[in-house]
Symmetry: C2
Subunit: 232 residues, 2 copies
Amino acid sequence: MSSVNLVNQQWQMLVFERFMEILKTPYGNFPAMWNLANAINDAESLKQIVELLSQHPTAKDAFHKRLLLGTIDLQQLHSLPKNTLGYAYAEHMLGNGLKPIQPQAINHDYDYLMVHLTETHDIWHVVTNTDTSIAGEIQLQAFVTAQLHISRFSLAMLAKNLLKTAVEDLDLAEQRMDALTKGWLMGKQAKPLFGIQWHTLWEKPLAQLQTQYNILLDIPATSVSAMSTSNN
Amino acid sequence: MSSVNLVNQQWQMLVFERFMEILKTPYGNFPAMWNLANAINDAESLKQIVELLSQHPTAKDAFHKRLLLGTIDLQQLHSLPKNTLGYAYAEHMLGNGLKPIQPQAINHDYDYLMVHLTETHDIWHVVTNTDTSIAGEIQLQAFVTAQLHISRFSLAMLAKNLLKTAVEDLDLAEQRMDALTKGWLMGKQAKPLFGIQWHTLWEKPLAQLQTQYNILLDIPATSVSAMSTSNN
């Protein structure tokens, strides 16, 4: 075996080990996710993600300036009109007992990729209208997978969630496969969301932003009704 | 820990071990699939699949009579008109160097479930218009997952294929996620195919059967065009 193949095989074994670890932990275990991400995300594929995202000016600018959301006052956002992004985000965060994340140090584009995705994760929940149930997380994960184009970590997380469903929650299989399908289709149809400076948009109506970014909330219904019509 | 929990935990560990084994083998390794299926398919979920399928009279009859395809003469089928199921099946089998499977002994409905799915697998390839590439297999797997409603094994195979894609074939991630999504949507829309006695239908036009069983070959295109229209 060549040394390249050996390194590759060792890497795969590490990934599979971390995958086994996360399988055995409850959903939402951040250290296990972090361990899996660190193992599976090689520099080459991260570079490709950054390049693909940077084809869009919003992401390119965000990477260049390493733009962050800054301090977020949930109580203040919660006082905005109920149809705004800010109110919906605050309602989501307060309703789920969540706090905005303090970003870690950013020394590289790869750090920014992870930090931006992490600090905007709950905003993506709001704009894609996904809740924090496991089905909601799967839908958003599939959406993110489509938006990132070639994310090893996102694919592995989807695989993990399907296998856990097979073993632990078989009766929810259809709901979760529907969620995965919906998220993937929505993520492919939506405009690129990476790098959007959401904190400048708090006062915008949520529905207006969803239209602007082509976030189609009724994709499966649209598909099914379109298909039924065309086959009747 | 209660004894039930202990048994459950031991079962999960066995499933995860078999999952690791199949991850490390090349695609299409039947012994590894068989080992995973035997580990993950508990009697209770198989019983539920049989019950759900048997709500449809075709499957109910097939389970009752344990109907099999019988001997298949590929050369004879290949002499049928080119628009028939028989010709398309023979073309698929001969073109891929495949031979019809000799079914094993059937002592139980669960055996019949596996035997029927195995011996009709390549007919399902033909009627769903999926090839034997990995993307084609993923699409058919997702189709089968939808048709079986609650198959632990099918979900685990999808999980396996997503994780292998993440690690081995990242550049094909989009193609494979598209295939999974397409197969799932097609499988949900199609009428139940389990138990159909395909060998009585060899002379029927393939396109007619696809219409009859609501097998929608252009689902993603339909969805996307429908969605684009509704948002322009």
